[in-house]
């Protein structure tokens, strides 16, 4: 860094604090929103991706996992699937969003009935207790513990039945609701859905293209759709985040503008205040390019400091804020940090642009005036 740039920047501590603070705030907001978005995205779509199925079969009109008004009869499914060579295995799954209570505590859950024989659609990672629930038993997502204090041994009422919590798992937190797992027979009994399922999960023999088979399977059966796992995860994400993304984008742009405005204004006033000194530099023989560099370096260093502080706070705060506010599911990806670094760089360059344009107009002859 040029000595003039360094001295100009660090001799005015308050101004430096303001411009660094402005950028830090903006960076903080941007990384935090991105981390939040990533966190939600991961949670919401993560479960569908983790399920070991290539195709989800559902009633026509079903778009995603969380809101699925799908009812499929299981009768005859066995024979139908047995005729298709490319199907490795299949399994029925029940998934119904509903409310549950523990005493006076109400919570939103996704009641999932899975077939323990295949394990398809069951708990993603069991962290505590049993991995297969027996009759009258359920495995809950860990988020229910951190949010509502549900523990192993507790009794949870859902679908008119009292269930005993016997295990905990992760990977079933949809932010707005959490998965609880029971066997499919238990689910069918509780929901009065004997012989029915919400989805049929199909696992194909390796190297088959799921999209083609999804269409074939659906084509054979009127009123039924086949959706690839990938599409289904994306649709589930879109259900939760689709409305949030435009809002998020607007806030991100605002955060950028605020950071740019604060940094730009402070750098501009600093440049204007030092106009005479820039005139002196010109007079004693420094070319315009040198002056540009002086301002540019100040802007870049301000940006760097703001970026460091902003991301630093996000990382530190992100690690414990979820304990305070469970909805603050953050995920900081290095790609995003890199992108924000790029955004900060753009901010610094833009913040220096107007001041630099002004430098060119400074007349060194003015420094001869007393």
């Amino acid at each position: 860094m040029l000595i003039v740039a360094r001295k100009n920047l660090f001799s005015e501590r308050v101004r430096l604090a303001i411009s660094v603070g402005g950028i830090a705030l903006s960076v903080l907001l941007i990384t935090f929103l991105l981390a939040l978005f990533r966190g939600w995205n991961e949670k919401v779509g993560g479960f569908v991706e983790e399920v070991d199925a290539d195709i989800w079969i559902a009633r026509e009109g079903t778009t995603d996992f969380l809101v699925a008004a799908s009812i499929l009869p299981l009768e005859g499914a066995d024979e139908r699937f047995a005729r298709i060579d490319s199907i490795e295995r299949w399994s029925p799954l029940i998934a119904v969003p509903m409310g549950a209570t523990k005493g006076d505590t109400k919570m939103d859950i996704q009641l999932i009935g899975f077939d323990p024989a295949t394990g398809m659609g069951g708990p993603v990672r069991v962290t505590d207790g049993k991995s297969v629930p027996g009759p009258g038993e359920m495995i809950i997502d860990q988020a229910l513990t951190s949010r509502y204090g549900v523990e192993i041994g507790d009794s949870l009422n859902a679908a008119g039945t009292d269930w005993e919590v016997v295990g905990k798992s992760t990977g079933g937190d949809f932010v707005a609701s959490q998965a609880v797992f029971v066997t499919i027979e238990q689910a069918q009994a509780a929901l009065v859905m004997e012989g029915l399922a919400t989805f049929l999960l199909v696992d194909l023999v390796e190297m088959r293209d799921p999209a083609t088979y999804a269409r074939t399977i659906a084509g054979n059966q009127p009123g039924v759709v086949g959706i690839t796992s990938e599409e289904f995860a994306a649709a589930t994400r879109d259900r939760v985040l689709g409305d949030v993304i435009p809002i998020l984008t607007v806030i991100l742009i605002l955060a950028f503008i605020v950071g740019l405005a604060v940094a730009g204004l402070t750098i501009y006033t600093a440049t204007v205040e030092k106009a005479r000194e820039y005139g002196i530099l010109k007079a004693v023989g420094f070319p315009n390019s040198y002056l540009y560099r002086v301002v540019f370096e100040q802007s870049i260093v301000t940006g760097l400091l703001g970026f460091g502080i902003g991301t630093g706070i996000t990382v530190v705060a992100g690690s414990f804020i979820q304990d305070l506010v469970p909805q603050f599911v953050t995920l900081i990806r290095w790609q995003d940090v890199l992108a924000v670094a790029g955004v900060t760089l753009v901010m610094s360059v833009l913040a220096a642009y107007v001041p630099i344009r002004r430098l060119a107009a400074i007349d060194p002859v003015a420094v001869f005036k007393a």
Partner: protein, 280 residues
């Protein structure tokens, strides 16, 4: 003493400032030369074109017509970037208001014009320190300009002007913001620089005392140099005035000359006081 080498040469330089509804001829076909080892003093009343002359000679402003040669380089057709490097290498400026960078220490102010980087080569630091030591500022190296007296600031500025070892030193009213004694010191320093370091020193001033150190002095008026003009100091305001054109008052067998009617009036009101001050 002086070298034959011409460090600065102006030929037929005219500068016309164009204003909205009029034109000011600040310099009118001026010829000028300055040699290494010489102090040239240019005097003249306010508005005579002294600063205009100096900024044109220092390549900070282009003349309307005429040519300027700095250290043998003809500058009129050069681009701003090239002029900047000529200034940096060949011209040292000294200003009335010192013009130091406020957030840099004395040492940094001198050193910065050489490199400008954060890590100046040790040779730069040594040279800057030597210059400051030479001007009696060894104990002031790390002071900021606001911690220095006017005389000290001007000495730092002089050290800065010498940092890149230029051939030419251009000073605009270098004593203008200093009291009599500090002004005297600065003038002697400039003389020393020209003689010992073989610089061409051009000083522009309307303080007649600067003539004491001049090898050559010129009178600039209305944009051109006048020969052998008899000047005197206005006893009231101290300005240098041309005897021929100034209004005069004779008091106790001595003639006094005035820049304007106001000073003349003041003088008449208190002749004793002003006459005494003048003869001091």
């Amino acid at each position: 003493m002086a070298d034959d080498r011409v460090a600065l040469r102006l030929r037929g330089v005219t500068k016309i400032y164009s204003l909205a509804d009029s034109e000011v001829i600040a310099l009118d076909t001026v010829d000028f030369e300055a040699q290494a080892g010489q102090v040239v003093v240019i005097m003249g009343p306010s508005g005579a074109g002294k600063t205009t002359f100096l900024t044109i000679a220092g390549t900070l402003m282009k003349p309307t017509s005429g040519t300027i040669e700095v250290a043998g380089i003809e500058t009129t057709k050069l681009k701003e970037k090239e002029l900047a490097s000529i200034r940096r290498e060949n011209v040292g400026f000294i200003f009335q208001s010192f013009n130091l960078l406020e957030s840099l220490t004395a040492l940094e102010n001198v050193r910065v014009v050489a490199a400008g980087g954060i890590t100046a080569p040790a040779s730069d630091t040594n040279r800057a320190r030597e210059l400051l030591n030479m001007f009696g500022l060894d104990h002031r190296l790390h002071s900021l300009p606001r911690q220095l007296s006017g005389g000290e600031k001007q000495r730092v500025a002089i050290a800065r002007s010498l940092m890149n070892n230029p051939e030419i030193i251009l000073a605009d009213e270098p004593t203008g913001n200093l009291d009599y004694k500090r002004g005297q010191e600065v003038m002697e320093l400039l003389l020393q620089i020209s003689v010992e370091l073989r610089k061409a020193v051009v000083i522009v001033s309307h303080d007649h005392r600067v003539r004491e150190v001049a090898h050559r002095s010129l009178w600039l008026q209305d944009g051109s140099f006048r020969d052998t003009i008899v000047t005197a100091n206005d006893p009231v305001c101290g300005q240098l005035v041309e005897v021929d054109s100034a209004s005069a008052v004779t008091w106790e067998n001595k003639d006094y000359y005035f820049c304007a009617g106001e000073c003349r009036q003041l003088f008449k009101a208190n002749q004793q006081k002003y006459a005494k001050r003048e003869s001091k």
